[in-house]
């Protein structure tokens, strides 16, 4: 078997291939040679073969048969083998292959190797592709290496630790002691990776964050040294001393200073210093400034500093370098929420960026422009944005259109302007408008009653020439259907009215129906519109009938159904037609929060010509009840029960209950009879917080006796009471109705009325049948609000069927116990 060719040879050979097929052939040949070489277990040439295999892998050819060979190389004693082996492991293996676990032992041995480079290799591989099992096994070794004095290994161990923490977050505490003097290092590499490690720990755990806050002074000192130290050749990049470390420290300071006044104050000086002293002629300086600005905006900095930061961003915007402008726009987007006015000052520059050729900058500028729109600048901004919509790439149009709709809805100075803007968007970017915008627009148009004629006229003119843009056609069809009569009568005030005949209108709608470009949804809109016009137009009803009957046999099921139903309307239900096809009422305005929420308002594509059901006025809506329930069941912080301890029934329970009863009445006067040795517990109310939020417990502790409100003809109604902890004027009464006769009482309805100073709420009963012989009860909950703490009185009315006849009774309940309303 001849010696396998060298990597260089292979590469040279492959480069001579002129076609993809030739290349594939060469690679396959070489793969076969490599495979047979692997089979021969040839130690000398293994690393050569694996190197070639890695190259072929990079070109995209399968190389999985080399995985085990990589492991053998790692296990070898030679550094050369190990190097290629580990590289192969990093490129070919990852946690999805089971083979990778075999590496664990090798890595463990290598982590303790005498040569630092071998240790470095092992750390590197573990840090790149170590799975969580491997990390768990080897975390101890990594931690040991984190404390070594060898800076080459220390920095690698730090990054490896970051990887371990990412994979197995529970091991974070293990690395905590090793971080103690990481920042005391002189070596910048170690410093850099240590800061990365600290950043990762702080981001993952708020405890760590609090723990590391004390490092802020040290970090500030290091940063200061970096800035003031003058020229140091080894760390210099374009005249600035180790900018990478500076940027990392700034980022860590940002995380530490967030939401913490003390740390933020400690950083103020150094941030101001960096911001003013850094040279901005090269990218390096700008990178540091950018990071500084982000930090200033994120921590609780003083306002002077913030203004400085925004001004720096403003300067960035005017920079010629596109990269700088890009990052400036990105960070302005982040800060526009908090410092809106400051960003407004740069509005004109931002709007100019809309015209930039660079796609990334345009996108950022567009997002920022939408964020800056407010009531004052809406007209100017909208002009710019509409112009942008005209000329931008298709990928932007949908977002831009949605943004414009949103902005117009929030800040439109007048209805006419709003409608004009919408029209403009529909005509320029009609096909990119999102589908859910159509119902929203329709609702908007319905609501601006005085603009109907103007709107329909403009829409008509718009689709006359071109009816390919679906959203536009849908809105237009709907409007023409609704307001066709206004169109034909030429009533428009805002504009020159045009002369349109009924036939012309029907022409356009029919062409929409026939056109190939119309989707089936659009056709549905058009057909319904034609139908609606049958009540609005006078002389073309026959034509409409004809059109509708044609579509009764359409292939599209939706159209067919509509046509058939409309046909039926003409034939059998002609008397109902005018009522059904009446003008739509003004629709309820539902506030929208964003383009995605529009879909909830009017999901139907066809506005249903049905009357909206009035909300049921009978039984009280239970949502209010739920609120009250929440009040009762929610957490209490001060469990003060308003009941006075006067007539506490002595038999309320054992000593325990008495004790608890006393502690509950912490707010009550100290004339509580039973001694309470327990109150020496510190903060007893917290102990009982959880307990006292249960209404049941209230009942026992306060001991409001239940009453029999009504007892006649075998029907007995009992009231049991509960008081709310959080709201002392609410009493909850649970009624229980029982029947001692031998026949069931069916259709039982309980009604109650209270004097005017009270408010009453009846929840739904458990059932409407009171079973005979007291075998069961109906329960129903009543809530009484008694803000003036007057004596409770109630009049009740009972209706039920018993023994085949309907019974009805009125009664007054006066025997409410004082605890239930005091």
């Amino acid at each position: 078997m001849p010696a396998p060719i060298r990597l260089r040879e292979l590469i040279r050979t492959i480069r001579t291939a002129r076609t993809q097929a030739e290349e594939r052939e060469m690679i396959q040949k070489e793969c076969a040679a490599i495979r047979s070489s692997f089979r021969e277990e040839d130690n000398t040439y293994r690393c050569r073969n694996v190197a070639k295999l890695l190259y072929m892998h990079m070109l995209g050819y399968p190389a999985h048969f080399g995985q085990l060979e990589c492991l053998k190389l790692i296990a070898s004693q030679k550094f050369t083998d190990k190097r290629i082996g580990y590289l192969g492991a990093m490129l070919l293996l990852d946690e999805r292959q089971d083979v990778h676990l075999l590496m664990t032992n090798c890595i463990k041995n290598d982590l303790n190797h005498s040569t630092q480079f071998v240790q470095g290799l092992a750390l590197c591989t573990l840090g790149c592709m170590g799975s969580s099992e491997m990390c768990r096994d080897l975390a101890g070794e990594v931690e040991k290496l984190l404390k070594t004095s060898n800076s080459y290994l220390r920095k690698k161990a730090a990054l490896c630790a970051v990887h371990v923490i990412r994979k197995v977050p529970e091991l974070m505490e293990m690395f905590l002691p090793a971080t103690k003097n990481l920042l005391n290092e002189k070596n910048h590499g170690v410093l850099h990776t240590s800061v990365v490690l600290l950043t990762e720990m702080c981001e993952r755990s708020p405890d760590m964050l609090a723990h590391f806050r004390k490092l802020v002074p040290q970090l500030v000192r290091i940063l200061k040294n970096l800035i003031m130290s003058g020229y140091s050749p080894e760390h210099d990049v374009s005249g600035i001393s180790d900018p990478f470390l500076q940027v990392r420290i700034l980022r860590l300071l940002r995380i530490l200073g967030r939401n913490d006044d003390d740390s933020s104050e400690a950083m103020n000086d150094i941030l101001a210093q960096v911001a003013t002293n850094t040279e901005t002629s090269k990218n390096v300086g700008n990178a540091i400034l950018y990071e500084t600005v982000l930090t200033i905006m994120d921590i609780k900095s003083e306002s002077g500093l913030r203004v400085l930061a925004i001004n720096i961003l403003g300067r960035f915007l005017l920079n010629n370098d596109k990269n700088i402008r890009y990052v400036a726009l990105t960070s302005l987007l982040k800060t526009v929420q908090t410092d809106h006015n400051a960003v407004q000052r740069h509005r004109s520059t931002i709007v100019d960026c809309l015209k930039d050729l660079d796609v990334s900058i345009k996108r950022r500028a567009m997002e920022l422009s939408f964020a800056l729109v407010n009531g004052n600048n809406i007209r100017g901004m909208m002009k710019e944005l509409l112009y942008f919509l005209d000329s931008c790439e298709p990928e932007f149009k949908a977002d831009c259109a949605s943004g414009i709709f949103l902005a117009a809805e929030k800040y439109a100075p007048s209805k006419r302007w709003h409608i004009d803007t919408i029209m403009r968007v529909l005509t320029t970017a009609g096909s990119y408008v999102r589908d859910d915008a159509v119902p929203n627009l329709i609702q908007l148009i319905t609501n601006s009653v005085e603009m109907h004629a103007y709107t329909v006229q403009r829409l008509y003119k718009a689709i006359l020439g071109d009816y390919s843009q679906q959203p536009l056609v849908q809105v237009a069809a709907w409007c023409i259907g609704e307001y066709g009569d206004l169109l034909v009568s030429g009533q428009c005030e805002e504009e020159e009215p045009i002369q349109v005949t009924e036939d012309e209108v029907l022409d356009i709608l029919e062409s929409v129906l026939i056109s190939n470009m119309s989707t089936s949804v659009t056709r549905g809109y058009a057909l319904t519109a034609i139908m609606k016009l049958s009540t609005r137009f006078t002389c073309t009803v026959n034509r409409i009938k004809k059109v509708v009957s044609i579509y009764g046999s359409s292939i599209d099921v939706e159209l067919q159904q509509r046509a058939v139903e409309y046909n039926a309307l003409f034939k059998k239900y002609d008397h109902m037609r005018s009522a059904l096809l009446e003008r739509m009422p003004v629709m309820e305005k539902v506030t929208t929060n964003g383009p995605t929420e529009i879909v909830q308002t009017n999901g139907e594509t066809e506005p249903a010509p049905l009357e909206t059901k009035p909300p049921p006025s009978g039984p009280q809506p239970t949502s209010q009840a739920n609120d009250l329930l929440d009040l009762l069941g929610g957490n209490d912080i001060t469990p003060v029960i308003p009941t006075a301890p006067t007539s506490k029934p002595a038999s309320a329970g054992g000593e325990l209950l008495d004790l608890l009863g006393d502690i509950n009445l912490t707010g009550a006067p100290a004339t509580a009879p039973t001694p309470a040795p327990v109150p020496q517990i510190s903060q007893p109310s917290f102990l009982l917080d959880g307990l006292s939020s249960q209404p049941l417990f209230n009942d026992i502790a306060s001991g409001i006796p239940s009453i029999t409100a009504y007892s006649k003809n075998g029907l007995k109604i009992e009231f049991t009471f509960e008081r709310s902890n959080t709201n002392p004027s609410v009493t909850v009464i649970t009624i229980q109705a029982s029947n001692s006769t031998e026949l069931d009482m069916t259709d039982f309805v309980f009604q109650a009325a209270v004097p005017k100073t009270f408010q009453l709420q009846l929840l739904s009963p458990s059932s409407s049948i009171v079973p005979a012989f007291n075998t069961g009860t109906i329960t129903q909950v009543i809530k009484v609000l008694n803000p003036q703490k007057q004596q409770l009185r109630m009049r009740i009315k009972l209706t039920y069927n018993h023994k085949g006849s309907a019974m009805q009774d009125l009664a007054e309940v006066n025997n409410f116990p004082p605890q239930s309303w005091q």
Binding site: I11, R48, Y55, L87, K322
Partner: protein
């Protein structure tokens, strides 16, 4: 964190690909193809930052690239890295390659892929920046290369065997 580092020619042929997150081989090749597609369309004087393509996490991940003569150097990063910082890092990487290979050109990268990997491994580890000091990196690489060479001073193997 850096998600991937790619070097490819003006025609889209990959000369180095290192992924710091597990992707299947097919996905890797697709990512390379998509990246080339995105980057080759760019003009010379637009900004060097792009949103990531579909396969590599859309808007969470950014693509930072630099075009040197016939090569594209592309770094995919997520939001925790500073864009301008990575931009500088690419420069430092290229300068280090220059020092190690003495006036590096595309052919050097093509024929010594493993050496480029070794240099990269000293700079970026597990997706995080390890060392940015050029001299430090070059020293380490030299020492390791010497170590390799010493293993082959045994007579019956010649020095370039492993290549």
């Amino acid at each position: 964190m850096i998600k991937a580092i790619l070097i490819f020619s003006n025609q889209g042929k990959p000369w180095l690909s290192k992924f710091y997150q597990p992707y299947s081989e097919d996905t890797q090749q697709q990512i390379i193809g998509e990246t080339f597609h995105l980057v080759s369309k760019r003009d010379e004087n637009v900004c060097n930052f792009l949103e990531g393509g579909l396969l590599i996490g859309r808007s969470d991940n950014k693509l930072i690239y630099r075009h040197y003569a016939t090569l594209y150097f592309v770094f995919y990063v997520d939001s925790s890295e500073s864009e301008l910082g990575i931009f500088d890092l690419i420069q430092v990487f290229v300068e280090t390659l220059d020092k190690c290979f003495e006036n590096v050109c595309e052919l050097d990268l093509i024929f010594h892929v493993d050496k480029v990997h070794n240099i990269l491994v000293e700079m970026v580890m597990g997706g995080m920046v390890l060392e940015t000091n050029m001299n430090e990196i070059v020293t380490q690489i030299d020492t390791q290369n010497k170590l390799e060479k010493s293993e082959y001073l045994i007579p019956h193997f010649d020095n370039h065997d492993r290549e």
